[in-house]
């Protein structure tokens, strides 16, 4: 009989729900769960944690999540792979070990490190991948830079018998490709050259990982549409997507029985193109995927078969995500009721601008939007016209200051309270007196893989 392996989606971001993961383990027959905790923005959040406390810098939900899932995993011999290590995989593993020790649980935890490349990036000065800008503008303000590792260290960790693999910045889809390569004996191309057949299998595996890496977005969640989203059943009890993948790379996307959500041609393809640029060249550390040859067959009953992905050889470079300090923001939100609510909100904005000028507050921008009217679609959102605009029941205005000067940000909220008694009438809500936060700019770049991969380490921790 042809061998196949079943992988299931873990979390899709730091803060996601893990009850659906338990459903996949208990009722879905999965052998592996792979869990993506890191968006571009997440490393920026973790960097702020790490600044406060050097034992942090990882996605802290990994601890309660693994405590909740481990009894069911251990009973069924399910392995768990996650990039929750963030900027501190060893710190994450230490926290998991402490929690497991308190329960008396034994597990083999592999820690993957080597993605951290801040010094190399500062030395090499790679240009911005999108706009081509020079790193000189931001080098002194850079606070982290991590390369996207591929599936190799995960395969190695699984070969060493890991029950749980905790990594830092591994590419989301590679978290899923790792167990597929390990179980189905696929050739990653780092020992023997990858044949076209090898590359197509890797491409199928990468596409599977891409479909599963965003949890419920692959099973009917966030289904962007006019009306049609209403036909997707029971999102409150959504099942995260799983995939049964065969040795030849063909895959069936499915979910655990008795769960909500929907897996069909529409929900699967909406996820397939998510956060993809050129769909014929979806770059990853392990293979370049061409989606234009993929065939999706809706089998009904929440099952979609995927075949036909084409793979091309990986490049000599890895993507890096860097972050640099980029000033501060402070925001205030304020509401006015009928009558003349919109005009009063506009008047309040002018008063704030006048105060900023009078007090010579240094700032790069004052951003203004009207939540409930145009904050989602800006100038593309049609405003009510004429009397309808004047007669709006209430209007909220959100003003955000961007500044390099932290004191200016801290003082922004104090420009407002006087207007409570001395400004336009019928204010119906205000918040933001103390609302400073640091902004981080993201610096995507490319770096030679030969400068990164030799530094990859796997440490086994026995709990």
């Amino acid at each position: 009989m042809k061998k196949s392996i079943r992988v299931g989606a873990g979390l899709g971001f730091y803060g996601d729900a893990w009850e659906p993961v338990l459903a996949s383990i208990e009722r879905g027959g999965v052998h592996y769960i792979a869990s993506d905790h890191l968006a571009e923005l997440t490393l920026a959040i973790l960097q702020k944690d790490l600044q406060r406390d050097v034992s942090l810098g990882y996605a802290r939900d990994v601890v309660p999540m693994l405590v909740a899932l481990w009894p069911a995993m251990a009973q069924r011999k399910v392995c768990f792979i996650c990039n929750a290590g963030g900027l501190n995989p060893s710190g994450a593993a230490a926290a998991v070990r402490a929690a497991f020790a308190a329960k008396g649980w034994a597990a083999r935890v592999a820690v993957v490190t080597g993605d951290e490349v801040l010094q190399q990036v500062k030395d090499l000065s790679p240009t911005h991948m999108f706009h081509g800008g020079s790193l000189d503008e931001v080098r002194d303000r850079m606070v982290f830079a991590n390369a996207y590792l591929g599936a190799r260290p995960i395969v190695s960790a699984l070969q060493q018998g890991a029950d749980i693999v905790i990594t830092g910045r591994v590419a989301d889809a590679a978290l899923f490709l790792g167990p597929l390569v390990h179980e189905l004996n696929w050739n990653l191309g780092d020992e023997a050259p990858a044949t076209p057949q090898d590359l197509n299998r890797l491409a199928q595996g990468l596409a599977v990982g891409h479909l599963l890496e965003c949890s419920g977005q692959g099973s009917g969640g966030n289904f962007g549409s006019l009306q049609a989203w209403k036909a997707i059943p029971d999102l409150a009890h959504i099942g995260y997507p799983m995939a049964e993948v065969s040795e030849d790379g063909s895959a069936v996307i499915m979910k655990a029985p008795g769960t909500g959500g929907r897996i069909n041609f529409d929900t699967v393809r909406q996820q397939l193109l998510y956060e993809v640029h050129n769909p014929s060249e979806y770059f990853s550390p392990d293979v370049v995927l061409d989606m234009s040859t993929i065939h999706l067959e809706d089998l009904g009953q929440d099952r979609v078969r995927m075949t036909g992905a084409t793979g091309h050889p990986r490049t000599g470079q890895l993507k890096v995500v860097g972050g640099y300090r980029d000033g501060f923001k402070a925001e205030v939100t304020w509401g006015f009721s009928w009558p003349d609510a919109y005009d009063k909100a506009l008047a309040a904005v002018e008063m704030v601008k006048s105060q900023l000028a009078d007090k010579r507050v240094p700032h790069e921008a004052l951003f203004v939007e009207f939540p409930g009217l145009n904050s989602a679609h800006g100038a593309l959102a049609p405003l009510p016209q004429g009397q309808a605009l004047a007669d709006l029941n209430e209007v909220w205005v959100r003003m955000v200051l961007r500044t390099r000067d932290k004191k200016a940000a801290d003082g922004f909220g104090r420009l407002f309270p006087w207007m409570g008694l001395s400004g336009p009438a019928y204010t119906c809500g205000f918040h933001g007196l103390h609302n400073t936060s640091e902004l981080l700019g993201i610096w995507p770049a490319l770096i030679d893989r030969s400068l990164v991969e030799p530094n990859t380490r796997i440490e086994m921790v026995q709990t």
Partner: protein, 129 residues
């Protein structure tokens, strides 16, 4: 035959999801069936999408067609004030921006619109919407 041309919003013929990478927002735009895809492939070009977003976000637009999954892939540059971690908008990651794309108006004639709406939705199992 009724070849009278009318303007309709993309939302009537397509569904969509948006995502972010640094300062770029990307869109997957999907026809419900082959008849709808033929209309999208003709009407949704990089130039028209750029013109649609221009009053708000005048960045460059790239476009690819995927007949295998009845889809169009679009990328809008310079869309997030430099990126999600510095964007001052409430929707700092552009999650709702696919809906802004679905507001775009396209030209269809009455016959092809009727054909698009009458053809079954490929991945739908008869759910009423």
């Amino acid at each position: 035959m009724n070849l009278l041309t009318q303007k309709i919003q993309l939302a009537k013929l397509a569904h969509a999801r948006s995502g972010d990478k640094a300062d770029w927002v990307d869109f997957g735009l999907f026809a419900w069936n082959a008849a709808g895809y033929a209309v999208l492939a003709r009407e949704v070009t990089a130039e028209r999408v750029q013109a649609h977003f221009a009053p708000w976000l005048p960045g460059q637009v790239e476009c690819w067609t995927l007949p295998n999954i009845l889809a169009i892939k679009l990328v809008l540059h310079d869309a997030l004030q430099g990126g999600g971690a510095r964007n001052l908008r409430l929707d700092n990651l552009g999650k709702s921006m696919a809906a802004a794309l679905l507001r775009m108006e396209i030209n269809v004639n009455a016959d092809e619109l009727a054909a698009c709406l009458a053809a079954p939705r490929v991945g739908w199992w008869g759910e009423k919407t």
